[in-house]
Structure formats: C-alpha cells, structure tokens
Symmetry: C2
Subunit: 321 residues, 2 copies
C-alpha cells in the first residue's frame, strides 16, 4: 500500500502539506496542491480508513443482521442494502443471526470493537439500545421508538384474505408466522379482520419460525393437525411451496380442491408452473430505503419520516380458483 | 464504550498493567491479574479492534465477493462462509459485484483501506494479485496458481449427460453457461464428452450470463433459436425452472415430451412439484471450506491441498423420463 510519506516524497512537499491538502484544512499553496493531487493520482494513494476510523471513532462500515440468509427474501433485501451502501462509499458487514440471541450478542460485540457506524437489522432479537450507533429496523419493527422500514403487513394480510374470498374459499387455514415477529402478527391480524368481517369459517395454524429447512415438516403438520380445509393463507412463499407439494402428494388438486396464496413474491413463485398467487413484498426496496435511512442518520441528514411503510401488492397467478 | 482507563481505575491498577494482562506480555502479579480479569468481566470491556488493526496492519475481517446474491446458489454459499467466520471470530464484508469490473475495483480499494485480512471471491473478474492479502477463489477457479474450493464441474456435466442418456434422451440441447466462468466450461466439456462417446445428437445453446433476471427471456430464446429437441441440460436450476415454465406454456408435457435436468439443487427444486432432477452442488460446503482455507492462510496454518474439488451428486426427481 502507498503511504502518505511516499506521496510527500513524490510531490516534493512535506507530509504535513499532503495531510493539509487531503483534509482541506489549513493553508496550502496552489502549486503544492497541484503537485500533491498529481502524486495521489499517479501513485494510487488512498488514505487508510482504519487510521481515520480510529481518530474519528467511526467507520464507513454498516452491519446488516439477517435472520436467515437462505430464505430467498433476505438476499433480495441484502442486495438493496449493498447497492445503496456501495454507491455511497459504505461497506456492509453481513451477520446471519438465525434468530439466535447468542449469535446476535456476538455481533453486537464485533460491531462495537470495529467502530461500525450503524446497524440495519432484520433480526428479531436485540433492542436498539444495545447498539450505541444509529440503528434501523428492516421489516421487523420491534419497538415504537425505532427508525424502521417495513412492508405494510396489515394491508398485506387483508389483501391475501380478500383474494381468498374473491376466489370463493369456504374453509380457510391461516398460517400464523412466529409470534415474536411484528410483521407476522400484522399479517395475521389483517387477514383475520377481513375473514371476520365476511363471517367466514377459519382455523389458525401456528408456525414458530420462518426457517426454510422447517418448511416441509410444517406442511405435513398442517395437514395432520387441522380439520379439512379448501384454502390456505401461507406464512410466506417458501411455506406456500411446501404446502403445495404436500397437497399434491396427498392427491388433491390445486386450485380445484385446495387453493393457496403465498407472501413475499420470490423469484421461484413467478417461474414455477402453475404460478403461485402471492402478496409481493418490496424486499429490494426495503433494503435500499433502509440503507438510505441509516446513512442519513449516520451523516446527520434530515429524515422526513421515522417509520416508513411500503405497500405490498397482490400478484395474481394460478394457485387460486 | 468502556475504555482501558476505566478498567484500570476499576481494578485499581495502572493502564500498563491492564495492557500487559490482556496481551499476556511482561510480568503481572497474580492479584493484579485477578483484579483486571474481574474488571474486564464486570465492565464488559473488549479491546478496540480498530486500534489493534491499525497497529498490526490487519483486521479480523474477510471480504466475500459474489457475482449475484439474488441467485439462490450464493446465499447458501454465503451462509457457509458466515458460519465458519463467525465461529472463528471473523467478520464478513459482503460485496455483490454483479460481474461488474468497476464494482469489484471499488471493493479492491475498500478492502485495502480497511486492512481486510483476506478475500474470498466467487466473482469472475479480478486476478488474485490485485489483492495484497490471502485470497481464495470459490467455485470460479480462474488461475492455476490460486487457492480455490470448487465443485468438480466436469464430473457434474458428465453426471447430467449420463442421466439424460439413461432417460432415453434423443435430441439434446446443452445450455452452455458464460464462457468466462471456469465452472461453466467444465460442465459443458463434461456433458459433451459423454454425449460424444454415446454418439448422441445435440445442440449447444449459449447463454452469456447466470443473472437471474435474464432467465425468462433466455428460455424463450432457447425455443426460438434451436431445432426441435426432447431433452435440455440447463445451465442451473433457475434457468431450468424458466425452461420448464416455457415448455408448459408452449403446450409440451414434462417429462413426456421434453425432459429437463438442472444444476445446483436449490431449495425450490426440492419443494416444487414435479420435482426438478438436478446435480447438487455442495454450496454451503464450498463456502464453509473456503472460509476455513482462507482463515488458515491468514493465520499461517498449514494447508493440505491448494485446490480442493468437492463432488457433485445426481438428485433424481421427476423431470426426467
């Protein structure tokens, strides 16, 4: 790596002059400035961020905590975060915390040790007070006082239930996502409010996780622990896919015998045949907007809205009648 | 954040004593050591890694470059990397470089500025010489001299072609992945060697990217630019899914009229119905082993093998006859 000393030697000026030029502080003669700028360009010098970070007690690094990166919703969100961060000179530290308090604890420690300048979290565990830096929650709005970007999941739940009613569902199973996830509760309450208004018969089937590798066993359990049904409002697209597979394995037709609606709008939901009708969450947008909000907090820019809710959208495909 | 000075005050010893205790250097009396350890525990002190990093010119951060995090293969790989890193006290910086030289260039710069201690790359662009730190290639072995972990894609291509032959394919289309990706060439050469040995009729259909959002248009192009076929060896599972959808849209049956084999073994390939027969790549294992190799390089542990090839596996499902 090129050092500031080498830049000074190349430019034929003192280290102090290089430093003043780079930091735009104090007087530097016009000729010296030009020489320094040429030297910086020729040698490919960039200031050591670690040194700057130690001095300023902050870095241009942001932490991103995800509950399960193998759930295809989160890579889309991560892509949005990374795009915004990269364009604005920030690096993203990835933490896959798997709803595991200990893993999150470890990242809290890491982040403090490395002077991370802010944290984005889609994980459910820690409170924002744990982090002594700007903190934005993604899609899992935990506390009233937090900055957050989320999908309007109450509306999402309503849209799903309305779609089922429009498709003449009679006996509905609503899969309730993990209770510790705010968005999951909102979806449930949105769906139930519509079903109650219509006086429709329904059962709530509780799932305790969104973890991808639990999808298949959950689908089996769904069939074994509920009364007969003709419609399923699934927790998300991965779980919808598992329920579809179990439905067909048991000799039922989709959508004639059992109809299913998902939540998320994953790539595979669009690419599979028949296509999965689902509620599209703007995952990329949540990540992108979340990173923007966090960078605005770090850089002390004004923020119009502390809590942003993005609108989900019904994607009609072929899994409803 | 708790400072070393506060630890010293709490323990009733000098800062130098705290420093010697934490670094295990120089003499510290037994009583003082106990007091320091208690103070560290009570106050929740951890040394500032930024300061340590500046001094040692290295950090406990590793960079992970991915070509496209929205392709579901890479999150699995990232999960493997993160698991190993986290267990061994390293943080993972995520860079989604999208086969874009400029983005990778920017990360080379970032990584140097932050004294990153090593780089894992599944991206195709830069040469290892660009990084002045330990460097391990994941799945895209570019140069002979690199450390790398990859799937044995030649074998994978052979397995796919053999499966098609066993399923009585007569007119085969082989999708050739991007030519700048070593693994793609190996798959192609593996598949063609088997097809040639059997004297089977085939066409090669070239794709120029693995980017997920190009899958649907590529599937349309496949049907429009080739002679009639009854079997497709797809570039990967995402592309296989898109080809399946286009096949059904055009009124062909799977596998009766057209049979399809994928590559990767994504979650959705297992969950969809009918299931996609595919070649399983050990994505998580590639990430985990890659991170282990990188950490061994960083910590100067001995490494048994410079180039590791993991074996892919045929997953029989329902998309072949």
């Amino acid at each position: 790596m090129v050092t500031i000393k080498e830049v000074a030697e190349y430019a034929g000026v003192s280290v102090a002059t290089v430093s003043r030029t780079l930091n735009n502080s104090g007087y530097v003669g016009k000729q010296s400035r030009i020489k320094v700028e040429e030297a910086v360009k020729t040698l490919g010098y960039y200031p050591n961020e670690i040194a700057r970070s130690l001095y300023q007690k902050t870095s241009k690094m942001i932490g991103l905590l995800l509950p399960d990166i193998s759930n295809p919703y989160f890579p889309l969100l991560a892509k949005g975060v990374e795009d915004y961060a990269q364009r604005n000179g920030y690096m993203v530290i990835l933490g896959n915390v798997e709803d595991d308090e200990e893993k999150e604890e470890m990242y809290v420690k890491f982040f403090s040790q490395y002077n991370i300048s802010g944290v984005l979290s889609a994980a459910s565990g820690k409170k924002s007070q744990t982090y002594q830096v700007p903190f934005v929650l993604l899609d899992r709005a935990l506390e009233e006082e937090n900055y957050s970007i989320a999908t309007d999941d109450q509306l999402g739940g309503e849209l799903a239930a309305k779609a089922i009613i429009d498709a003449k569902g009679k006996q509905v199973v609503v899969m309730a996502g993990p209770g510790n996830v705010a968005g999951a509760n909102d979806r449930l309450s949105g769906a139930l409010s519509v079903l109650n208004d219509e006086g429709l018969s329904y059962q709530v089937f509780e799932t305790h996780t969104y973890q991808v590798d639990k999808a298949e066993e959950t689908a089996v359990e769904l069939f074994e622990s509920t009364r007969p049904f003709d419609s399923v409002i699934a927790s998300n697209d991965v779980y919808a896919l598992a329920v579809m597979k179990e439905t067909i394995k048991r000799g039922h037709r989709i959508p004639e015998d059992i109809q299913i609606i998902g939540y998320d709008d994953m790539l595979f939901s669009r690419l599979m045949y028949p296509g999965l009708t689902t509620i599209a969450q703007p995952a990329y947008e949540v990540g992108y907007q979340g990173a923007k909000m966090l960078v605005d907090l770090i850089e002390k820019n004004s923020i119009e809205q502390k809590k942003v809710k993005l609108k989900p959208k019904l994607m009609m495909r072929d899994s409803l009648r």
